[in-house]
C-alpha cells in the first residue's frame, strides 16, 4: 500500500514537470535543459523570501514563481531568440542551454551554499494512516495541487486562445505566421506557462524533501524520460509514460534498493529508444519538412 502512495506522489510530480517541459519543447523544438533551473529557483526563491526576508509563505511562493518565470523569459529573449534567429541546429541550442544551466546552478550554489536548505517552519507531523500506509499532509497537498494545476494547464492549452496559438505554432510556425499568429508571442506564453508549472513543482518538491542546488536537474531528467517514453501525442500518453517511470522506479526501490532508482529510469529510456523510439503515442516528431 505504501508503495502505491509513493508511486502516486512521484507520478504527480513527474507528470507536472513533464507537462511543463513538453509545453516549452513543442514551441521551441529543442531540449531546454535550463528548464531545470526554474525548478531550483522556485524552491530557492521561496526560501529566500520566506526565511531570509520573512514574508508570509504563500506570498513568498507567489513572488518566487513570478521571479523564476521572469528569469526564464530573460533567458529566452536574450539567448535563445537571437540564436533561433540565426537558425542554428537544435543540438547547438541544447548545448547553449546546458551552458546556461551550468552558469545559473553555480550562481545558486555560490549564493545559497551547497548544503540542504528548507523553508519548513512548521512541525513535522506523523502522517495519516490509510490502509496501513502513511501519508503526510504535505504529500496530500502535493498530490492535490499537482492534479489541479495539471488540469488547469490542460484546459489552458486545449480550450483557450493562447493554448491554441501555442499548438498552432508548434505544429507549423510558418503557416501560423500567415494566419497572423505571432510565433514570438506563442513561444513567450509557452515559456511563461512552462516555467510557472516547473517552479510550482519545485516548491512542492522542496516542501516535501527540502532542496539542494542540483535538485532541478535530476527531476528534469525524469521528466524528459517520461516525455520521451510517452511520446509527443496527447496528455494521456504523457500520463502513461510518467506512470510507467514512477512504477518502475518505486518497484526497483522496493525490490532492490532506492539507490538504483536513477539507473532504472535510464534503462527504461534506453529500452524505449531502442524498440519504440516514438514512445507510446507513436506520433513522429516533425524533424524534416518538404
Amino acid at each position: 500500500m505504501q508503495i502505491i502512495i509513493n508511486i502516486i506522489i512521484s507520478l504527480s510530480l513527474i507528470l507536472l514537470l513533464a507537462q511543463s517541459f513538453k509545453i516549452i519543447y513543442l514551441s521551441v523544438k529543442f531540449f531546454h535543459l535550463a528548464h531545470a533551473i526554474s525548478i531550483t529557483l522556485g524552491a530557492y526563491f521561496t526560501y529566500l523570501f520566506s526565511i531570509e526576508i520573512g514574508f508570509n509563505l504563500i506570498v513568498s511562493i507567489i513572488i518566487a514563481i513570478t521571479v523564476s518565470v521572469i528569469i526564464s523569459l530573460i533567458i529566452y529573449l536574450v539567448i535563445y531568440k537571437p540564436l533561433q534567429n540565426k537558425k542554428i541546429p537544435n543540438w547547438q541550442l541544447l548545448i547553449a542551454s546546458l551552458g546556461i544551466y551550468v552558469v545559473l546552478q553555480n550562481l545558486v550554489s555560490m549564493y545559497f551554499g551547497d548544503d540542504t536548505k528548507s523553508f519548513r517552519t512548521w512541525e513535522v507531523k506523523e502522517g495519516h494512516q490509510i490502509l496501513g500506509a502513511y501519508i503526510t499532509d504535505v504529500q496530500i497537498i502535493t498530490i492535490v495541487v499537482s492534479i489541479v494545476v495539471l488540469i488547469l494547464s490542460w484546459l489552458l492549452i486545449e480550450k483557450t486562445n493562447i493554448g491554441k496559438q501555442i499548438k498552432a505554432v508548434s505544429s507549423n510556425p510558418s503557416l501560423s505566421n500567415i494566419f497572423g499568429i505571432s510565433t514570438n508571442k506563442a513561444i513567450v506564453s509557452s515559456f511563461i506557462l512552462g516555467s510557472g508549472l516547473a517552479s510550482i513543482a519545485g516548491v512542492l518538491i522542496a516542501t516535501d524533501t527540502d532542496m539542494t542546488p542540483t535538485m532541478g536537474f535530476n527531476w528534469l531528467l525524469y521528466a524528459v524520460v517520461a516525455m520521451i517514453i510517452g511520446g509527443m501525442g496527447k496528455m494521456r500518453y504523457l500520463f502513461m509514460g510518467a506512470l510507467l517511470l514512477a512504477t518502475a522506479q518505486h518497484l526497483s526501490a522496493y525490490y532492490l534498493d532506492s539507490k538504483w532508482m536513477n539507473a532504472t529510469a535510464y534503462i527504461i529510456l534506453i529500452v524505449f529508444l531502442f524498440f519504440k523510439p516514438y514512445g507510446f503515442s507513436g506520433k513522429k516528431l516533425k524533424k524534416a519538412e518538404l
Partner: protein, 295 residues
Amino acid sequence: MDYILHLAILIAIYTILSQSLSIVAGYSGQLSLAHAGFYGIGAYTTALLSVNFGLSVFVTLPMAMLLSGIIAFIVSKIAVKTVDDYYIIITLGIQVVIFSILNNWQEVTRGPLGIPAIPSIKIFGFAFDSKLSFLILSVFIVAIIWYLINNLVKSPFGRVLRALSEDEIFTKSLGKNVYQAKIISFTISGMLASIAGVLYAHYISYIDPTSFTIDESIFILSIVIIGGMRNLKTIFLATVFLVLLPEALRFVGMPSNIAANIRQIIYGIALILVIFQYGNNRDKLKTKRINKANA
C-alpha cells in the same frame, strides 16, 4: 615543482580524453555525454585487476580497452538509432547508468568508498612512481594517441566520418556504410578514453566514482566544443586553458569552494559564447547555393 608536474600530468590525461571525444563529437557529429563513463570503466578495470590480482599494466591496459570497447560497441549500437538532441539525452542516460553501477555495485567496486592503494605502473622492473617519470610516460602516450588520431582522421575512414557529419544521407548515397562508421568511431573513442582512465588510476592511486560523474562528461565535452570540435591542436590548447583555469583562480586568492563554482560558470559562459559565435546553419548554405542556381 611537483605541483607544476602534477598539472602537466592532468593536462596530458585530459588531452587524451578530449581528443578521443573529438573523433565522435567533431568528426562523426555525435555529441556524446557518456565519455566520463568510459574513462571510469578504464580506471576501475585497471584498479580492480591490479589491486585484487596484482596483474601488470601490460595485462590491465588491454583488458580495460577491451572492456570499454565492448561496452562502447553495445552503447553505440543503441545510440546510433537516434539523432541530434535524442542522441545527447540517450548518452546522458548511459553515463548515469555507468555511474550508478560504479557507485552502487558495492560488492565489486566498493561504491563511494573507492579503491585505495592502486600500485604505480611498473614496466620491466622500472616503477613510474615519481611525478617526473610518470609525466614522461604520459607525454609519450599522448604523443602516440595524437599521432594515431591524426592519422585516423586523415585516412579514408576519417573522410567518411567528416562527410557523414556534414550530410548523412548524401554520404549514404555514395555507398558508404554510415552506421558502421558511427559505431566504429564511437568504439575507438571509448577505448582511447579508457587509456586515460588507466593513467589516472595509477597516477592518483585512489579512485572513487565522483571522478566520473555527468559533470565530468560535460566538462570534457566543453573542452571539445571550446577547442573547435575537430582541430586537435586547438583542443589541446583548450585543455590547457580549462585545466589551468581553477589554479589561476586560486592564485588570485579565491577560496577553493567559490573557485570551483567560478570555474564552472566560466566554462558555462564559454559554451554559450562559442555557440553564439560559431553556431552555424548548414541549411542556410544550401539555400544560398539553390538561390544561386535559380539566378
